[in-house]
């Protein structure tokens, strides 16, 4: 049996989109702030993958998508660092990192 197939961009885009949506779901539903950050990482990661996939499939002659991903990873790291610092500070103040409890200010 001579099974041959072509890689198609959709084969990567859909999982990546799925990952993004999982991230969205997690971001919207998790109560632990660190879990929310984890969801965020999923989203960012999906974006990175998108870039890479587009780069590879549509514009193989250049590296822009890849470089964006490279920098995006760094940005993600920076975001995580700041966010975790703030979360830890919050934890120090209230011994709690449930996002639901952070709704003193409203209306």
């Amino acid at each position: 049996m001579n099974f041959e197939f072509e890689w198609n961009s959709i084969m990567f885009l859909i999982p990546s989109l799925f990952m993004f949506c999982c991230g969205v779901y997690g971001f919207l539903t998790r109560r632990n702030m660190i879990a929310i950050l984890i969801s965020l990482e999923l989203m960012l990661n999906a974006v990175d993958m998108n870039f890479v996939v587009f780069n590879r499939f549509l514009y193989p002659g250049q590296l822009d998508g890849m470089f964006f991903t490279l920098f995006a990873i760094a940005i993600a790291a920076a975001e995580t660092a700041i966010a975790i610092a703030i979360i830890i500070n919050a934890f120090r103040i209230s011994r709690d990192i449930d996002v639901k409890d952070l709704s003193k200010m409203k209306f």
């Binding site: 969205v24 971001f27 929310i36 996002v99 639901k100 709704s103 200010m105 409203k106 209306f107």
Partner: protein, 675 residues
């Protein structure tokens, strides 16, 4: 004629008003009374002089070669220019009727000024509060009334028309602490205002089509070779009629536009002259001081309506000639009012009210007289009307001043407090009797002549009018003598304990009575037709005198007086029996056919309760409520969406996500669906 004296005739009272009004409180009442009276005396002399010059100088600007009297504009100043043609001017028009009115007004006004010196103080000689103000207002009224009669254009007339209304308002409300006086003054002003609305619209219509306010442009032709001199001409009036025929719509609600204009203008006259149904203010106006009633509400202001119709008479006449109804309206209104007022006058208790209704009735006579006046019989009615205006002014002023003397002496308006005063107040008695004889039309008193002319002209028009008006004349004689007998006879006067017996009043009050009595007796003999006719052409009435009519009317009057004497000369049960014989009629007459109640119903129950209050409510609740509602809605919306800002980060993010998706998604959908 030089303009100096005419201008002074108007300026003097005005200056007196300003002087007494502004500085009156620094003057003693006595001095201001003297100033006022003296000033009015000067005006009187100037008016007499002017009238004399007009009627007797024979100057070509006043009378032409054929002996026709002309209209002369002595002076005319642009006051307010609306358009190129529509200009309000203030001027001085001298013609037979205005000259005649000058005499009437200045005479009565002077008498009243003189009389008030006595009347406006109590038995101890203490002046009433506001005495200076009283004289100021009298001067204002004189100014306005003089300005009204000499108006050169209809708008000037309207201006002074309003001013007399205002001064009448001020004088009726002179005793402003008395609620009834305040109410009466308000009523008088508002009712006449309502009528003036008609007048104003009439002016607007008339002036729009004719393109002028000037009386002379509507009713007269300029006399060749003379500036500002005009002769009354039916051709000009016909020209006006033609303008309406060509420019205006064919008709509006069954009448031609010109008829509407004239009827609307006449509406103004109805208001001022207290024609039914706009008469209701006049009886109440008797709340004012009696001299005021004599001056304004008997002799001068109330005849302004008659004067107005007379002023525009050529237009009315032409209108009638071409089948318009304007004059018929005048006739009918006059006839009905005359009868109505006479009936009501028979039942009133208050002597001033009796006189007031008598005034209404007599003015209605003048109106009828104008209304029945036709070209075919030399427009006798016009002359008769003016003549009656003249004589009526004299004898009615006499009656009012006499009534004032009685009231002042007795301290009450009610004849039940009087009775049998003939012995106590002989001068008043005699003069009052002369007034009554005159109004009843007994020869040779002045009323006889003028009334006879009116009845003649009615006869000339239709037999129905003649019979109707003769009946009213009989009623007139009856109620006047009823009044006379009830005041001076009926039974002996009973003096209450602790009161002085009533007696004749000081000379300031009796002198005018005597003068007016003399005038009222004699003025009927004036050959009026020589001076005042509608077109200025002299008309010798005596030459056309109809003895039959005169005899009949005299007989009717005498019979009526006898009936009155039988019923009221001595105390007897006959009046009471009569009252019981026709209670319904008596009640209606006594209550003036419930007109006041009707008006109260219309104004309070309908205008106030059904229009004003709902509008005010609508404004506060609907219009304002809408505006407030907008604010409330904004606030509500603000509350409604506050859940968006729940404080929960994940909700924020959710909204963010949906927003971001919607932003693109909805746009895509819209493009997909519509493009």
């Amino acid at each position: 004629m030089e303009a100096t004296i005419p201008v002074l005739i108007l300026a003097m009272p005005l200056l007196m008003f300003l002087f007494l009004g502004l500085f009156g409180k620094f003057l003693s009442p006595r001095v201001s009374g003297i100033i006022g009276t003296a000033g009015m005396g000067v005006v009187l002399l100037m008016c007499y002089y002017t009238a004399y010059v007009y009627f007797f100088s024979g100057s070509p600007e006043f009378i032409n070669a054929e002996g026709n009297r002309l209209q002369a504009i002595i002076c005319n100043v642009d006051w307010l220019q609306f358009t190129d043609n529509l200009i309000i001017r203030l001027g001085f028009l001298l013609d037979p009727i205005s000259a005649m009115m000058l005499v009437v007004i200045s005479t009565i006004s002077f008498m009243v000024h003189l009389y008030s010196n006595g009347y406006m103080r109590d038995h101890h000689g203490v002046y009433e509060r506001g005495f200076q103000r009283f004289y100021a207002f009298l001067a204002l009224f004189s100014f306005s009334m003089l300005g009204l009669v000499v108006a050169t254009n209809i708008f000037q007339m309207y201006i002074f028309w309003e001013l007399v209304g205002a001064s009448s308002y001020l004088l009726i409300g002179f005793y402003f602490t008395k609620p009834s006086a305040v109410a009466a003054s308000k009523k008088a002003f508002i009712v006449t205002r309502f009528a003036d609305l008609g007048f104003l619209i009439g002016i607007l219509v008339l002036s729009y089509y004719t393109g002028t306010f000037n009386f002379t442009d509507m009713t007269s032709v300029p006399v060749a070779g003379m500036n500002d001199v005009y002769a009354v001409s039916a051709e000009t009036a016909t020209g006006v009629f033609n303008i309406f025929q060509s420019k205006a719509a064919a008709g509006f609600m069954g009448c031609s536009v010109m008829t509407w204009a004239l009827v609307l203008i006449f509406m103004g006259g109805m208001g001022k002259s207290a024609m039914m149904p706009l008469h209701i203010w006049l009886p109440d106006a008797m709340e004012g001081p009696t001299p005021v009633s004599a001056l304004i509400h008997a002799a001068t202001m109330v005849v302004a309506g008659v004067y107005l119709v007379a002023r525009l008479f050529p237009l009315f006449l032409v209108n009638a000639e071409f089948g318009g109804y304007a004059l018929d309206v005048v006739t009918w209104v006059g006839a009905i009012t005359a009868a109505y007022a006479a009936m009501v006058a028979c039942t009133q208790l208050d002597i001033k009210r009796v006189l007031a209704f008598s005034t209404i009735s007599q003015i209605a006579f003048m109106m009828v007289s104008l209304g029945v006046s036709r070209e075919e019989f030399h427009n006798l009615g016009y002359m008769a009307s003016m003549f009656h205006l003249f004589t009526h002014a004299m004898f009615k002023a006499l009656l009012f001043l006499g009534a004032g003397a009685l009231i002042h002496a007795v301290g009450s308006n009610d004849y039940t407090d009087m009775h049998g005063l003939r012995k106590h107040m002989p001068i008043t008695h005699i003069t009052f009797l002369i007034g009554c004889l005159s109004i009843a039309g007994i020869i040779p008193f002045s009323g006889f002549f003028s009334k006879d002319e009116i009845l003649s002209s009615c006869f000339g028009n239709s037999i129905f009018a003649y019979v109707w008006m003769s009946a009213v004349a009989a009623l007139t004689a009856f109620y006047m003598f009823r009044l006379y007998f009830l005041i001076f006879w009926w039974k002996e006067h009973k003096v209450h304990e602790g009161h002085h017996a009533p007696k004749d009043q000081p000379w300031t009050m009796t002198l005018p009575l005597i003068i007016l009595a003399v005038v009222a007796t004699l003025c009927g003999l004036i050959p009026f037709g020589n001076y005042v006719t509608w077109d200025g052409h002299p008309y010798d009435f005596m030459a056309h005198f109809n003895w039959t009519i005169a005899g009949i009317s005299l007989a009717v009057a005498v019979i009526a007086i006898l009936v009155a004497a039988r019923m009221y000369k001595t105390e007897n049960p006959l009046p009471a029996k009569m009252r019981q014989a026709m209670p319904r009629l008596w009640d209606w007459c006594r209550n003036r056919f419930y007109f006041d109640e009707l008006y109260m119903f219309i104004t309070h129950k309908i205008i106030f309760d059904k229009i004003c209050r709902p509008i005010a409510w609508f404004d506060r609740h609907i219009i304002d409520g809408t505006m407030d509602g907008l604010a409330t809605i904004t606030n509500k919306a603000s509350y409604a969406i506050r859940g968006l800002q729940s404080g929960n980060t994940q909700n924020y993010v959710w909204v963010y996500l949906i927003g971001a998706l919607a932003l693109g998604g909805v746009t895509v959908a819209v493009i997909f669906l519509f493009c």
